[in-house]
Every structure is written in structure tokens, then in C-alpha cells.
């Protein structure tokens, strides 16, 4: 007599002893984590050599659920933490996984500088257009006119266009998907993790509790339907032209995939060229 057991293929990548997670029904973050686990399977990377770093916020909690060396750092500072971790231990594949408020508002300065330096890390930004953990406040990603708890009459500040910001700051890989595009997300994650240099993926994700509800956009499933209808895949689109508004077309795809020496490569090349055999290397772990 045979016994049938059901094994979820992503289970080995999760700290199942920490379930249930804190995310709301219909939230898109869990979907992206599922994609990430599948990307790790596909990438065939040794998991002991993958480290995940998060900041603070709903997406910041990802670090607590993945069965990897994982670091839940301070608000906005996941990227400089990851920079230190990567340069001290270059054998690690370091992935920063955090939200739009964390990475782009309080952490915005670190984001542009890490892209400029071309630190060899992957940054995954789950963009739900508001601050979720604190109750749905306006963010630098909130579309014009959108209602948030601190923009009760509609947002009147222009939002950052994240792919454009990433590319113009120096990122070598830039892609955007929505939580509807699960296969594309996983595929981009594999490419980004394997890419040498600063790679960036923006994933638009529903926050039914705080964004969709306040803006009368329905629940998580309705949002998925909207993502499907509003999204247009334009690989190679000019990032200047991929702004997002509340109702219109959402341009998704892989926008940037170029080669440029990483921070470590530039550092070693410069020091070796100047110091020759006196250069003693990075002294890494």
C-alpha cells in the first residue's frame, strides 16, 4: 500500500515554524515570496550562500519567513547593510527585499548610491503605493490623486518612477512586473540574482486593506484583474516613459540589462593597478 504525501515545493525555502505570516488576505507580498522561492529553485544556487536583507515594513518582514541567512535591519538601511555584508563576504549572493516606503523614501539616498557604485546585490522592491505597516500613509510612490490616510483628499505630490530612478542612478538590470505576472517575476528574479552588479526589480502588489479599499479599487482579486487588463509588456521600454498613474496603462517588462564593472571589480582593479603586488586583497571571510 502506498502513501501519498503532498509537499509544497517552496516549503524548504520557508521558515514554516513561523507561519501563519502577518500579511493580510489579498496582499501581494506572499505571492512575490512564492516567486522568489521558485526563482531560487531554478537558479540552482546553494542556499547556504544566499543571504536576504530586509528593512522595516510589511515587505520588511520577508526576511523573517525565508529559510536563509536573513537580516531584518533598520528602517531604510537594508541596502547599506547588504553592501557591508557583500563586501565582507563576496561569496554570498545578497538579496535586498523590502517595500517602496523603506527603500525609496527613508532609504532613497542609499538606493541611488548603491546603484551608482554598482554594488553586486539584487534589490526587490514590492511597491504597494503606500505605507502598509503603519496604516496606509502616503508614500513617494503614491499616484497623483490617490487617497491615503495622510493624503485624505488625494495625493498632490508627484511619485517617483522607480525603474527610471534605478536606471539613471546606474543599475545594470531593471525590470517591473505586477503580482499578476508570477512567471515573469520568477524569471526576472533568476536573471537579477545571477546578474553581476546592482539589479533591481519593482513588483506592483495589491494592499487591499489600505490602498485598494480607500481608493475603491476592490479586493485583491479585483486588483489582479486590473493588473491583467492595465498591464502592457514592453521589454526594453525607455524607463523615462513608464510612469504609473491611478487608472491608466501599466508598462511592465525588462527595461535594462547592461554590463558595467561592479564595485568590487572596480575597487580591485584600481588598487591592483596602483599598488601592484603590494595590494593585499579584500581580506574577505
Amino acid at each position: 500500500m502506498s502513501t501519498l504525501t503532498q509537499i509544497n515545493p517552496v516549503e524548504p525555502f520557508l521558515r514554516t515554524d513561523r507561519m501563519p505570516h502577518i500579511w493580510c488576505p489579498g496582499c501581494g507580498i506572499g505571492t512575490t515570496v512564492n516567486c522568489f522561492a521558485r526563482a531560487l529553485v531554478e537558479s540552482k544556487l546553494p542556499l547556504d550562500k544566499v543571504a536576504l536583507v530586509s528593512g522595516i515594513g510589511c515587505t520588511g518582514r520577508v526576511a523573517g519567513y525565508v529559510n536563509l541567512d536573513s537580516f531584518h535591519t533598520t528602517h531604510g538601511r537594508a541596502i547599506p547593510f547588504a553592501t557591508g555584508l557583500k563586501l565582507a563576504n563576496p561569496a554570498l549572493n545578497v538579496v535586498v527585499y523590502s517595500g517602496d516606503g523603506d527603500l525609496i523614501s527613508i532609504g532613497g539616498n542609499h538606493f541611488i548610491h548603491a546603484a551608482r557604485r554598482n554594488v553586486d546585490i539584487t534589490v526587490i522592491c514590492v511597491n504597494n503605493f503606500i505605507y502598509g505597516m503603519t496604516g496606509g500613509q502616503v508614500a513617494p510612490t503614491t499616484p497623483l490623486g490617490a487617497v491615503a490616510s495622510t493624503s485624505p483628499y488625494g495625493c498632490y505630490e508627484h511619485a517617483f518612477n522607480l525603474p527610471f530612478l534605478a536606471e539613471s542612478s546606474g543599475a545594470v538590470y531593471v525590470a517591473r512586473w505586477t503580482a499578476f505576472h508570477v512567471r515573469h517575476i520568477a524569471h526576472s528574479m533568476v536573471e537579477a540574482i545571477k546578474k553581476k552588479g546592482f539589479s533591481f526589480i519593482e513588483i506592483l502588489a495589491p494592499c487591499p486593506t489600505l490602498f485598494q479599499r480607500r481608493n475603491k479599487m476592490g479586493d485583491g482579486l479585483d486588483t489582479m484583474r486590473q493588473y491583467k487588463q492595465r498591464s502592457v509588456i514592453k521589454n526594453g521600454a525607455h524607463t523615462r516613459e513608464v510612469d504609473i498613474d491611478l487608472q491608466g496603462e501599466i508598462v511592465v517588462g525588462k527595461f535594462v540589462d547592461i554590463e558595467r564593472p561592479t564595485l568590487q571589480q572596480s575597487m580591485e582593479q584600481q588598487l591592483r593597478q596602483t599598488l601592484r603586488d603590494q595590494y593585499a586583497g579584500m581580506g574577505g571571510a
Binding site: 536583507v53 523573517g64 536573513s70 553592501t83 565582507a88 574577505g284
Partner: protein, 389 residues
Amino acid sequence: MPTLTTASSKGVLTGAHFLDGDQAACEGALAAGANFVAGYPITPSTEIVERFASRIPTVGGVFLQMEDELASSIAIVGAAWGGAKVFTVTSGPGFSLMMEHLGYAAMTETPLVLVDVQRGGPSTGLPTLPGQGDMMQARWGSHGDYEVIALCPNSPQECFDLMIDAFNLAEEYRTPVLLMMDESVGHMTEKVVIPSPDKISIYPRRYTSLPPAEYLPFRAGADGIPEMVKAGDGYRIHVTGLTHDEKGYPAMNWKEQKKLVGRLVSKIRDNAERIARWEEHEMQDADVVMVAYGITSRVAQRAMQLARAEGLRVGLLRPIVAWPFPEKRIRELAQRVHSFLVVEMNYGQMFYEVERLAAGHARTELLGHGGGMVHEPEEILQALREAAQ
């Protein structure tokens, strides 16, 4: 407890040198084996990272100039979890920005050294002139409860020596350790003798020997301190600034808060008598005891000579480790001396500690100012005459 080792010869410039305090602090860090610095320029601390940037490529390691002090103070935490021995340096305004990561390092028990070359404050204050106004910020500056260790050199030689001690204490107690210099000590040039590597004791990182299945990253040993691992070694650890259990998992309740934060505090407090260190001069017959540290202790020493020449029985107690404070010794002295005179470049910080410990048994006076210049020996002498009344 791990066995002490000796310094690697790679970074040690054995011999007699003529160095300022900033340069000596950098050499101390290299001798201690520091191999990763993330820094941000700020007067009067910049010479430390300039020297590190110039020296480390030939020793083996990384220097990275970051975009701000928030970045530099968290990049070193990341590097420490990657296996590096790390420090960063700053002064007043940067010290304020680093407070968040002082707390994060305390909460995650990350060994690191943070150097504050103090200048006059508050705010931008006096960038090129000395102050000692950050002493309580060193102790209480980050939110919530924790204990720190802070050292206070008064010469370039001590900047070298105490930098090594700071690294050893950081590793022993798995905690951030502060080296509280001041602009005068940082920019004063004196003879600094660097011993041979075999004369330099190094406290190695407390790496676990347990296999991953048996290891809990925040389970403390009998001494209250957990063993560490680094990322990439197969332990799949989780590290968070949230209150966490022994597994490192977030635990949002008062019981885990009490267990964790209680341990963070007691691992230092229970060892306070061991960590506290001070120097005494002319204490045997002293009626008036000066308490002074850093550059101020050097002027106080001159004032003590002048007072003794007048027949005043004056002694000097110099905290070398500022925090934990030499509490027991101040309490003992309070039972037999007439008064304390605390001389410091602030409007009263360590003064309140001395007053608290004197507990009414000895009068406690403050001779303080907000920085910008060191005290004159004559003004201290005048205060000593009054304190002796």
C-alpha cells in the same frame, strides 16, 4: 570563553612613532585586526579613516566611504555578520545619526567599535575645537534600554592601546564599544610605541562549534553571552532588531522582552566591576578628589601639582573606562574625602554620576564649560581652593 590569541603581524607597525591620536587610533584598530571600515568624513575624526583608507589595501581588507553616517554605521554591522572585524568613526552630528545603529548593534549583539572624536556641540557647534558633551549620549543616546562600554583615552598612546581593548571588549561581550576621544587628544601628536604582534592580546570572535541543528543564535551561555556565526556558514540564522527569542525569531511579548533586554543590560552590569578601569594620582592623603577624563585629565594633573605646591591635599581620579563607571571606588572615596571636583568640557554629565555616588557623604562640585578650549590649570586651581574650603 575562547582562548586569547595574539595579533597577526600584517597590520602591526611595531616600533616608536610620532603620531596624533587619530592616527594612533587607526593603528590600534589595524593591530586589533580590523579589516572593514565604512566611514563618512567629519571633522575632527576624518584622519582616522583617511589613514585606514591608505593602509588597509596593503594589509588586506576594505574601506568604503558611504553616503552618510546612517549608511556607514549599518554597513559595518552587515560586514560584521559577514565575518569582518569592523569599526567606524565620527564626531558630534554624525554620532547623533549613528545612534539608531548603536541600538541595532546592541540589540543584535554585533561586535563593533564606534569612535566619537568629540567636538563642541550641540548641533554643528565647534567642528575644529574640543568638547566632551557626548558622554551621556554615548551611554543613553539610542532609544530603549541597553548598556554600553565606553573608553576614554587621554593621549595618542592610549588611543592606540584602548582601541585594541575596545575591540577585545566588543568581542568578549558581543556589544558595540565606544571609544570616546576628544578633538585635543585626536589632534595632539606624541610618541606612540607599538609593540610587536606577539605582545598584543586579541579576543577572538565567539564562533560556535555546535552544528546547525543544535545551534540557537541567541541562546546565551552561562556568562550571558551567545555564540556567533557568520552568514554563509550553513546555519540559516535570522537576525532582527525586533525583540526576539533564542532562535532569533520576533517575539512580541513582555516575557521575551524581559529575558532579552534584561540579558543585554546584565551582561554588562554584572561585569561592571571587571570592565571599569581608572587611574589614581596622589589619592593616599587627598581631601579633594578631582574627577577628569580625556584631555581634561591632563590639565587637571597640572592643576593638582600647583595645588599640592600650595599645600592643598588634592588627588585625581581619571576614568579610563567611562562606562561602566567606577561606582564602587567613588562610593568608597566619598566616605573619607571632603569633596569631589568634576572637571569636564560640558555643563555637567559625569558630574551627576559622581554626585549620585557621593550620596551626600562628600560635597560634589562641577567645573564645566561647553568646549572650544581646554580648561586653564589656574582656573582649576581656583576651583580646588574653593572645594578645599
